[in-house]
Structure formats: structure tokens, C-alpha cells
Point group: C2
Chain length 332, copies 2
């Protein structure tokens, strides 16, 4: 398997050294995270959780890395649409392919997550799973975010990398629970987040066993969605894959994190549910519509979820107020 | 969560101490396993596999523990059939429920795996996932195998526990890939095999998010099979859940291990596919029909799979010849 030089450079996940959560400003959010880890791992605490049960789940887009102006994974898929349409010209005038082919960035940014699923199934079906791995890796090593002109894997939130490290330093196993496709995330989750591929739960299409022209057994991606991680699907499929209720969960979007955060918080003993509010237009982006922030088609944080967070005792992170820095490269 | 005293006692999974594979007779099977681990973990070897890629998959029934005369998980489900039929009398005369209610052990033992799925979906649907955990744990702490009068969790093959320990001692992550339901296996996999719940891939029904009468969020088991691990489904769903081709796989049955073993062996570099042949009627059971052993409805090892194993270079374990002892309690 070829190495990923770009990813290695971007990676910040590592053993925790020095003070935990160094990129966080002191305040209730930082304190709540430190307190939760302490009371669930101190054997003398009434909320002690034995190591076998220490599971923490993290949404990816908008929680661990940038999701604006378009989900990274959607960017990856869009590039393969022209080839798809060449092979299947009947898609030329069908949505969402027509919008993608128009090149209209604004219209493309408005495509829904369901549209993305359609594009994923269209562009990736029939592909050998190992060929897909190669294509994903190659794209990730080259493609850059238009605003920062950096690899997408560099646009991970340094404060969240420190959260991952702090949880793991205290015996937690960390998982990704993404609305996107697991296969794509698994190509960098280990190097970028310190999360092995088997701990990535995502939406996923079916796989089919068969033989290639040389009679070698292969697995191919099929045009059928088996795991749909939107809305309650994220926590339903987390249980399907891992069979446990996490003790802590981090998310940011009403479209796929709300039920997971609610379910985690409703467990017995100490539980931590955290929602990231993007309120920093200068260093990253500001969007809601919670708290009057602008509404967008990517990563909606509704006022309803905000109210639920307050009522149920989740922690809401203000990127502007709680994070000293957003990206590792800021201090380069 | 209540402790499982019975399971703790039965557990043999632990850090490897002393010589590896101590319960194995010297011979080609033992040597092949030791050689494979050595060449894939020695940095100087051309077949070296970096730690991130070291994944080994193990079937459970008939590979890690006894599957005769009836799959353990089927035994567990059968006990819940009378309650189910009381709630839904229309099932009384419908198969496979009619056979189960007849109490005819021989007829019950002949039910197919598909029949078991029907019983699982019938008896477990609508159940809160955490209530299901309690019921499984309670059953496992009490139910005993009719032949040995021991807990099912004591009927694990000591030589295979040593294989698991040896792989893990060399940086491999070990996974269960079972045709049975993952939820049941996850209640003891950690204590009995040293395999955490998230590394258990099995057949599984859908889960549904909702609220109980006190408006608390719950997840319930639904009457719909999402993951079907029979035949090629086992390796298809292994990829779905973990996104990687294992470097080593162990199985015993043509009904759900054959494609997994074939796919693993067909990967590049050193790969190990191992099939357990039950040829020891005295210490355990003897069944095939490979090599003229009696055919049964549980754990079929076909002559076709045997021939494939020889042709493709899998290792076939003779329980009679390769294993010094079968169970840990033999030396009690």
C-alpha cells in the first residue's frame, strides 16, 4: 500500500503530552469535558466506567473537520460525475447530475445530503473495493480546499484532536459516526484522527462478492444503500455495528447528530453530549440557524436542537469563544 | 452492569505467556500458523504487514466453540418461543415455530440456519436493546450444554484461544465474523475471547429509534434483517463494517466461511486461510461431509470446500490430530 506523505504531515493525532486541551480557552465547555473524563475513569467515583465500556463517538463533518462550503466527500464524488455521465449519457439531464455538470458552484453547494448519496451510488457502484481505496487515497493526497489552499486532511480542528487524544489517554476507545460514507473516511481516519478503520461507522452501500475476468474473487460496491446514517440512522447504525451506547458523543448538525446526542445523554450515570456551534466567520464559518446564525444547506444547527441541548444538559461549544486556535497550522 | 461470574471463570483469553500454541501438536498446521505470524510481523520479511493492517477474522460456531448438536444461539432463542406464541397465537401452526413447540429434539436439530433467523426475528423484535443485553447475559450465566453439563462459554476450543492470544501478542487485531447474531456474541466476546464488542461482525436485524412511555429515547430490535452473514454475506458484511481484507481467516463451514476464506487467501503477500475439520467424535464431534464424515444440518464442511482448501493452499486443521486437548477444563 503506498504511503500518504500529505496525510502524515497533516496528522496531529498522537499520544497526549503536556496539559490536556491546550488549544481550549478556560471555561465551562473545557471544564465539562475534563470533569466528565475524570469522573468516569476515577475508580473512586460513583460514575466510574470500567475500561471495557469506555466508548466515545464523534461526528466528522463540522465536528472534526471543516464541512463548508461543500462536504469534502461530495467534492471527491463530484469530480467523478463527468466520467459517469460519459458511460451513462441518460443521466445528463437527470438531477442531481445536471446541476453538477452545470459547474454552478452556488447551485452545487445547495445540493442536499440525499443528492450526495445519489451521486455516491452513481459514481462508485460496480467499483472494486480495493480500486476505490486507491482512488480515494490519491485524491486525498492532492485535492485542496479552495479557501485555505491546503489538503482537506489539514483542515481538522486542533481542539478536537486534543479531545480525541485526551479520551484515549484515559482508556476510551474513540469512534467516528459520520453521515458520509465510511469507506472514504477509513482511508485517513487512522493517520489523521488516530481512529482505526473498524471504528468508523458511516453511511454505506452494499458490497457484492464475485470474480473478475481472471477468476480472482473480488468485492464490488453496489448501487444500494445498506446503512443510512442520517437523522436517527446514525445512532441506530452505531448500535448495529458496535452494540453499545457511547458514554460521550460529539456532533454539530440537526440532520444527523441530534438523536445520537439525545440518546447518549439519556444513558445512566455520567454522560457527555457536546454540540459544536459554528459562530466564527473570521477563522472558519458562521452558520446555524441556531442563535440567529445564517442558515445553510451544509451542517444545519437548528434552534430546536439548541433548545434541546440546553434543556437536556448538553455542552454547546462556541468555536469563537472556546477555541484558542482552530487549526494546527495557525501556529506554524 | 451486573458482572458475569460464570463467564469470568470460563475465560481463557489472556496475554500470551510461555510458548505459543501450547495445546497444539507439532505438525504442518501449527507450523503454518507460527510461520505466517512471523513473516507478516518481522520488519525484515518481504511479507511484512504494518501494524495498522494486521487484521485476523474468526468464525465462531465450530471454529471457536462447539456448535453441536444445535447452535448455542438457537438454543437461546428456542426458550423464548413459547412466550412469543402466547403473544401471537397465529404462529402456533406456522413453521419453524411448530417444530420448536413440538419439543422433538431431533427435528429441532434439523432446522436450518434460515429457520433460526426466523426465530430470532420473531422472538427478539420490539425488544429494547438494553433489555436484550440483560436477557442474554442471564441466559449465558446459567444455561448448560447437555453433553458436558457446562456453561456454553466453557466450551471454547483452548487451541483457538491460544491462536487468538498469539495473533494479538504480535500486533494483530482479532475479529469475530459469525453467521449468528452479533448482539448475542457481544455479551461475552470480550471476556471469553478477548475480542471487544465492536470487533464482532454478525448477522443483525435493524434497530429503530423511538421513545418509551416515559418519553425516554430507546432503541428497539426490528423484524428486518439488515446484515445476512450467510454464504458470501460474511465477507461482504465484514467489508461493510471494517473496510479491510483480513490477512488471516479461520472458519469451518461451507455455509458461511467458504467465500471469506477464499477472499482472504486471494489477497497479495502472505495470507492465511484455515478451516477446522471436526473429525474427533470421541473428544468433540465428527461431521463433514468432507472426507466421508457424517453430514449434519449444523456446520457442514463440504468435500467441495475441502478440495478448494487443498487447491488454494488453505490449512485444514484436524481436531483429532492437531489438537492435544480441546477444552481448558480437560486439564482441570
Amino acid at each position: 500500500m503506498p504511503a500518504l506523505p500529505g496525510l502524515l504531515r497533516a496528522s496531529a493525532a498522537q499520544a497526549e503530552t503536556g496539559a490536556p486541551l491546550a488549544s481550549w480557552n478556560d471555561g465551562p465547555a473545557k471544564q465539562a469535558i475534563l470533569d466528565f473524563v475524570r469522573v468516569t475513569t476515577d475508580p473512586a467515583s460513583k460514575d466510574f466506567v470500567p475500561p471495557a465500556g469506555r466508548i466515545a463517538a464523534f461526528d466528522q463533518d463540522g465536528t472534526l473537520w471543516v464541512e463548508h462550503p461543500i462536504y469534502t466527500q461530495a467534492m471527491f464524488c463530484l469530480e467523478h460525475v463527468p466520467d459517469l455521465v460519459k458511460a451513462r449519457p441518460e443521466l445528463t439531464n437527470r438531477e442531481p447530475f445536471r446541476t453538477v455538470l452545470s459547474g454552478d458552484r452556488e447551485a452545487i453547494a445547495k445540493l442536499s445530503i440525499r443528492d450526495s448519496f445519489e451521486i455516491v451510488l452513481g459514481t462508485q457502484s460496480g467499483m472494486d473495493v480495493e480500486a476505490f481505496r486507491e482512488i480515494s487515497r490519491k485524491w486525498l493526497a492532492e485535492a485542496k480546499h479552495p479557501r485555505w489552499d491546503r489538503l482537506y486532511t489539514e483542515l481538522v480542528y486542533q481542539p478536537m484532536i486534543e479531545v480525541l487524544n485526551h479520551f484515549r489517554a484515559n482508556g476510551y476507545r474513540t469512534f467516528i459516526a459520520t453521515g458520509g460514507s465510511a469507506g472514504f473516511v477509513r482511508e485517513y481516519s487512522d493517520k489523521v484522527y488516530g481512529i482505526p478503520p473498524e471504528q468508523v461507522c458511516g453511511s454505506e452501500q452494499a458490497f457484492k462478492y464475485g470474480y473478475d475476468k481472471d477468476h480472482r474473487p473480488i468485492l464490488t460496491r453496489e448501487p444500494k444503500l445498506v446503512l443510512d446514517n442520517l437523522e436517527a440512522g446514525k445512532i441506530e447504525n452505531f448500535w448495529l455495528m458496535y452494540g453499545r451506547r457511547p458514554y460521550a458523543a460529539f456532533g454539530n448538525s440537526s440532520s444527523d447528530d441530534q438523536q445520537m446526542l439525545e440518546y447518549v445523554k439519556a444513558g445512566g450515570g455520567a454522560r457527555l453530549s457536546v454540540a459544536v456551534l459554528h459562530d466564527d466567520a473570521k477563522r472558519e464559518y458562521a452558520y446555524g440557524p441556531a442563535q440567529g446564525l445564517p442558515n445553510t444547506s451544509v451542517g444545519t444547527f437548528s434552534q430546536e436542537m439548541y433548545d434541546m441541548a440546553k434543556k437536556q444538559g448538553w455542552i454547546v461549544i462556541s468555536m469563537k469563544g472556546d477555541w484558542k486556535r482552530i487549526f494546527a497550522f495557525e501556529s506554524d
